[in-house]
């Protein structure tokens, strides 16, 4: 084996990637060849230095916290196939099945059904907004648990006045609000908390009349509820489990 062959193999040797036979050959060469031996010593010294902890960046705690909060908690427990405490692989299948069924329906139903359902589009939008609000530093423009502070804050920023009620007594304290943009218009986003979970309520006026809360298919593991309250289209998004989110939605309806 000559030095040119060895020169590259030195790296595999250093990294323990060559296998016994080649390792032996290399070592034999290193005993006979001072140049290659010197090179190997340098390589080894470099590796030792780089392994030192000073060269490894540790994720800042706030990043870990942000990501932990943004990832959905355990999937909804209330119904059928989603009820197992399932891992992410089955969770992916949970989405795949409705998707596949949806795709098949789309093929057979009248052409206008091929247009994506408006609610599906909105659900995706509000979930994306929710995720962004959790990840960035932009969860709230106005941080206050006082509904009498949050509500006036929206004055002049929106062409409507959102319903703002604190549900602290019921276990869902209001923590703030912000301006957001959904459905091609500025909307009010109210932020509530329940334990460690954050709930975003997106609200904008709408001519729709339906009043029953509609549960939208979970998006990326988040639960989404939609309801009409006194002329307002309300979308509720959280990683909170479905039952509790439903309870929260009922509060909003009752106080609308």
């Amino acid at each position: 084996m000559n030095c040119d062959d060895v020169r590259i193999l030195l790296h595999g040797h250093l990294d323990g990637e060559l296998g016994v036979l080649l390792d032996l050959e290399i070592e034999q060469h290193l005993e006979e060849c001072p140049n290659c031996a010197r090179e190997f010593a340098t390589l080894r010294a470099m590796r030792t230095r780089l392994r030192d902890e000073t060269f490894r960046f540790e994720a800042p705690p706030e990043l870990k916290e942000k990501i932990r909060r943004a990832l959905p908690q355990a999937p909804p427990r209330a119904n059928g196939y989603a009820s197992r405490r399932s891992g992410f692989v089955p969770r992916a299948i949970q989405f795949a099945v409705p998707l596949a069924v949806g795709a098949m329906l789309a093929l057979f139903i009248a052409p206008r059904a091929l247009r994506p359902n408006e609610n599906d589009v909105l659900a995706r939008e509000v979930v994306a907004s929710h995720v962004r609000s959790m990840m960035g530093s932009h969860l709230m423009d106005v941080a206050s648990t006082d509904q009498h502070t949050v509500k006036p804050w929206f004055n002049g920023k929106l062409d409507f006045s959102p319903h703002v009620t604190d549900f602290a007594k019921q276990g869902f304290p209001l923590v703030g609000g912000r301006l957001d943009y959904v459905d091609e218009r500025p909307v009010a986003a109210l932020v509530y908390q329940h334990g460690k979970h954050v709930i975003n309520v997106f609200m904008w006026p709408s001519a729709g009349t339906a009043t029953s809360a509609e549960r939208i298919q979970p998006e990326q593991g988040y639960n989404v509820e939609q309801l009409m309250v006194a002329g307002m289209n309300c979308w509720v998004v959280s990683d909170l489990n479905q039952t509790e989110l439903k309870a929260f939605t009922e509060l909003i309806r009752a106080h609308g």
Binding site: L10, R38, T42, A59, K64, F88
Partner: protein, 176 residues
Amino acid sequence: MPDSSKDADFDRIFLPHMDAAYNLARWLVRDDHDAQDVVQDAYLRALRFAGGFRGGDPRAWILAIVRNTAFTWLKRNRGSNSPAEFDESLHHGDIADAGLEADAVRSADATMIRDALNELSEEFREVIVMRDIEGLSYKEIANAADLPIGTVMSRLARARGRLAKSIKERITREST
């Protein structure tokens, strides 16, 4: 798919590798804030594509996503070359050419080594970070960095050669 063995969920499998993810992102984009953005984005993507994870090493899997996210970010924000345009043959030099002695490495300033590593092209930097700092095997590097396994060793050899040269130059500059 039975999930008894897989009921460990996403959080438990991938969150422990956040340090590795951040370390790689931080070395690639060279900025704390940008690295945090890259890691967040990568974790969301990972969550979306978790169905594509077929067991194996979750660290290499998440690092592959971090790496792609970082390169996309670099291309968009700093107009850097995509990996496909990277021409390895333009980067010659091995340890012997560098003339760097082991003793010099041992006594070199940590800042000097860090600067030298930061100066390498991203394609060289990533293999050194994956192998020497993060301790990935060649196979894992091949998966994470999207390289043929046969290329990993030669890429590493060139990268380390460049690094040695850069360290040597810094030592020389400082001593004059």
